[in-house]
Amino acid sequence: MKFDTPITIALSKGRIFKQTLPLLSEAGIELRDDPETSRKLILDTNRPEVKIVLIRATDVPTYVQWGAADLGVTGKDVLVEHGGEGLYEPLDLEIARCRLMVAGFACARLGGHRLRIATKYVKAARDHFAAKGQQVEVIKLYGSMELAPLVGLSDLIVDLVESGNTLKANGLVPLEHIADISSRVVVNKAAWKMKHATVEALLEVLRGAVARRGEA
């Protein structure tokens, strides 16, 4: 495809990055730099108009919101925590799929009074229990949530579950489904208006790639 205007795409290292690259290559965008060996944070592509910035997953909505990147790819979990203010999320890439779940010991009581919930996803956890009419204490952690119930830090956890193996290895089970998670394309509002033709053309290619992969 043709790019009428320069465009900056924000991606995060890891699963999203690996699964997004084949989609971008359908739009004729190939990386020049190898992110595994390069320490550069702004990566060049074969298209001089297209730059890719590599940042932490949780920072993608912030970069895009303030226009530091025109668009980005981020998990729905990150978007929910961020609030999605000032962003468009027009396309579900259906990659990096997992589920946001309440988990704990198989015998844990889900309906207890003022349960302590350990999670990285504070907003999603609070919203989920509030929607059930339940007051809970949320404990913000940055990782290894599975540990919290084992050492008595919390009654339950709210975390992303992919295969469930980490839970199982720690004697925990998924108890309640909160949301299906996958990666979304997010677009800055101003970029949507001012670079509409380019953004729309890129989205169209990605939409086609997602649909074809779905059929395969």
Partner: protein, 393 residues
Amino acid sequence: MENRHWLLPEGIDEVLPPNALALERLRRALLDRYGSWGYELVSPPLIEYLESLLTGTGGDLDLKTFKLTDQLTGRTMGVRADITPQVARIDAHLLRAGHPTRLCYCGTVLNTRNDDFGGSRSPLQLGAELYGHAGVESELEILCLMLETLECAAIPEVYLDLGHVGIFRALTRQAGLTPPQEMALFDALQRKAIPEIEGLVAGFGAEAQSAAMLSALAGLSGGPEVLERARVSLSAAPEPAHEAIAQLEHLARQMSRRRPDVQVHFDLAELRGYHYHTGVVFAAYAPGLGTELARGGRYDDIGRVFGRARPACGFSADLKLLYRLGQSEVEHQGGIFAPACDEPGLVQRIRELREQGQRVVCALPGQEGDARAMGCGETLEKQGMEWIVAPVV
């Protein structure tokens, strides 16, 4: 550093020399410009009873407003987070004119959260409102005034975004959505979350045709061809939606005639200020800023709660943001440095120079720093009986 008394709260800023003067010059230039268009200046209070600030504006403004209790009456007061409702109150209750009323304002507002206006919680809100006319002509006037404002602030490249809340309103009414359904759809539309919108609409149980039109709305943004596409994909929409599209078309045609240089983008799913807007909505964008830098639209019923509903449209912007983004020149002032001396001849000469508009800085006995340090390129020197302005060597 031990002492942190200098630290300002988050999102609260101040403007220093020489920018403060340049900002003030810009404020004066803009208010003069509005005056030349027939807009009269109003200066509403910083603080009011909360009900007056919030009536008819929806919940967003409530969360953004700082509140305190009036010690005299025990009532809750709010520090204005938006001047528009105050100006509406002035038009509806105090002026009560039968003819069109044009008002403009500039003042500091406070926001509890800085999710707007590029991060500031104390924007300097500037705007203009036109009451008493319900046609495209008044919208065109407000749009042109907004564009002139951006030019005056030396914003290099402006993109205009046009929408109309009437289309969404007509479609949700036709589909018979309940208020919670409407809010859920509104929220998803604001994020253009197309996969979610399709799921939501399918769950509403509306008839197939109106469901298809609700889903199509999110895709209706782009260049002028959008209005053509809207006519096709929304052909079964109720009359008010068609009227809205026709109004947009008319406004866009007038705009391109008046301002062929401005790039116009259409977005029929853009519902900025949906709770109080009733017609056209618009915003201006510029490269280098991820959010809109000026916004406005039609909000015909805003005066109703103050006793008089009449057509209204207007725009507003944060003057500090415009100044920061614009390429306004910061002029170097120069000045004349006068020695520390109370001789009557000198005092008289200084007064004359100041009356001529010169900047004269008087030295203080034993002060540190010379003419240059005080920003002066000239000094007053005594030659014979005369005090002469001479360049600093």
